[in-house]
Symmetry: C2
Subunit: 338 residues, 2 copies
DNA sequence: CGAAATTAATCAAACGTTTGCGTTGTTTTT
DNA sequence: AAAAACAACGCAAACGTTTGATTAATTTCG
């Protein structure tokens, strides 16, 4: 049963022709006659010939592989995004390899190194929470490996990226709450190190000032995104002199913790919660957020993948233009069902 | 900036020694003197030498890559499982490539073919809903590519697999409901083609007969797992002459649809629901299932990956023993919080 | 009919690394 | 002092495929 895979050489030997002719025959090269071509193809089929990919890749110096580095695959947002990436890659016959940074900077650096060693043709990255330095990506430049960031992107423009405009989405969210009549709106924001926290804060402030309201910094609480941190933030709001009547949660997990806590305290009906949608079934909650910011993970993955494949296809690296793609996020209002 | 990566040849040329010595030096081969070795390593480092993986893989005829084929990455169960697989693979310096069948048999066949072409060292598979034939995996045998199935496994023993014992878990679930006093228990089962449906049915029957109750086949309803199908199943129960007071749902999605529907009808308090846990936040629901069968996706992925890596490491293929690993699933009782 | 163009195939190098075997010198053993 | 052992390295083949250059045979055309 140990059948060694058939090779081109083998076919050539049997047919008494040269390996190069076999190779050309299989690729419909014009310089191979129709009869020989057919003989080659038939024998190849009957011997179950399969091209040795490793050899081809080695020969061509390409891997037809794109790497994906992301924080945590089991988060719904990322698994959806990578699902899209895989779908797009498959269309162009690329293979996807991926690895998780588990939100650890050191690990991310190692993985970038590993991907480079694997000689991926390109890299898609969603950076870890801890990542503030970006040297590890610069190395890839000299190896001509294009990088496209998605969703969790570095805070500067001279890279390719696809991301959601959380700022404008936050504006929409706060506007929605203001229109519902809320006058004191709290925000549970993420750590200050996160770019996404800036965006949310910016959006919040824009909406507030645009509506000629006074911005109260104490209504934005930074939080480490754990359950404990969320509860502490919630307590700040409950004891606030201008107790908010609506809260913008950093993400669905925070919203979940918040709603759970408020239900325990039996004050859930005093608040409207708006969140950012990562989790698919959050709308099934009884006291689900009144609205959610949809970040279109599938679309983001799709766009990022296609940009990367474009970059790989056209090695005109001297073109200094950077793809800075913004996926407009939408505010999805949940129907009230009480 | 177009720096071509440094090669062993390059280093050899500069140092005026042979490539083989460089290779051996870098691998601490004893037949290379300490001084030369150090010279080699220093130059390699200063030239940023990175081994060309494609060349190594080609040369060794191994890819250090394992393939994973699963139905749908965005399902929490699978993204958790593959996350575990990646973690285990990384420990042994293997790379993971994956692809989604999207629960389509034809697609699965193609993907197996593609994985074989990629010459993966081994394959982990969770089969699609549609898969009834298994010829496409047999081909891998002759290429000496080991396959380990996980979770969604074929219905026979002469393959390697890791799976949950849904049968015993279902016994536990039904027993739990019986102990709670329920005497008429409905089950929303999956399509009859699915092995998992058999297991659930078996478990149900075992628990019922063991408790010396009469088994009523009309209390098990097969369902296509859509929302519509779930509602139809629910209606059968509502109109049943022995209207059940508890229901075992095929999975969390079904449970979700069911609970939603029951809430609409305002009969949610007439039922206890038990489900199989795929979704992480289902316990946050107000009327969440009273208990869930935990299937340990991370553990399953971990075990499957390790078995596969074992099989790859020991090519004594004449050993006819098959790994048939059962991960005992547990019934997790949710605290009542009403 | 001979030169040019076309067709069909071959040759050989190349991609980067590994590895069995051979070849030097030098040191140790008896 | 000859034989054996060893240390340190080079040679060359091999892995499977692709591709530019070349050759040989055939056809076309002026």
């Amino acid at each position: 049963m140990q059948s060694k895979p058939t090779t081109i050489k083998e076919i050539a030997r049997i047919l008494n022709i040269s390996p190069s002719s076999v190779s050309r025959g299989l690729h419909d090269h014009p310089s191979i006659g129709a009869v020989t071509r057919e003989k080659i193809k038939q024998l190849a089929k009957s011997l179950n010939y399969e091209p040795n990919n490793a050899a081809i890749l080695f020969q061509k110096g390409k891997t037809y592989t794109i790497g994906v580095i992301l924080p945590e695959l089991s988060e719904h947002f990322f698994s959806t995004a990578i699902s899209a990436i895989e779908d797009e890659a498959l269309k162009k016959n690329y293979t996807v390899i991926f690895a998780q940074s588990h939100d650890d900077y050191e690990q991310e650096v190692k993985l970038v190194e590993k991907m480079k060693n694997q000689r991926v043709d390109g890299l898609l990255v969603s950076i870890s929470k801890d990542t503030c330095k970006f040297d590890h990506f610069e190395k890839l430049n000299s190896f001509n490996i294009p990088v496209v960031f998605f969703d969790r992107i570095p805070p500067f423009k001279n890279v390719h990226y696809v991301a959601c405009s959380l700022e404008s989405a936050t504006v929409k969210a706060v506007n929605y709450l203001l229109k519902k009549g809320h006058r004191s709106i709290g925000m549970i924001n993420g750590p200050t190190t996160l770019y996404a926290s800036d965006e949310r804060k910016e959006g919040y402030m824009q909406a507030i000032t645009f509506n000629r309201l006074k911005f109260d910094p104490s209504l934005i609480v930074n939080c480490d995104l754990t359950e404990k941190g969320t509860i502490e933030a919630a307590n700040q709001f409950l004891n606030h002199k201008r107790k908010p009547t609506a809260i913008v949660a950093f993400n669905d997990y925070v919203a979940l913790f918040l709603i759970k806590y408020f239900k325990q305290l039996n004050v859930i009906n005093d608040f409207d919660v708006v969140s950012y949608a990562n989790l698919p079934i959050i709308s099934y909650l009884d006291h689900s957020p009144v609205a959610s910011v949809e970040q279109y993970p599938y679309l983001q993955g799709q766009k990022a993948a296609n940009i990367l494949l474009d970059l790989i296809a056209s090695p005109n690296s001297e073109n200094q233009a950077f793809y800075n793609t913004i996926v407009e996020s939408d505010l999805v209002v949940n129907e009230v069902k009480e």
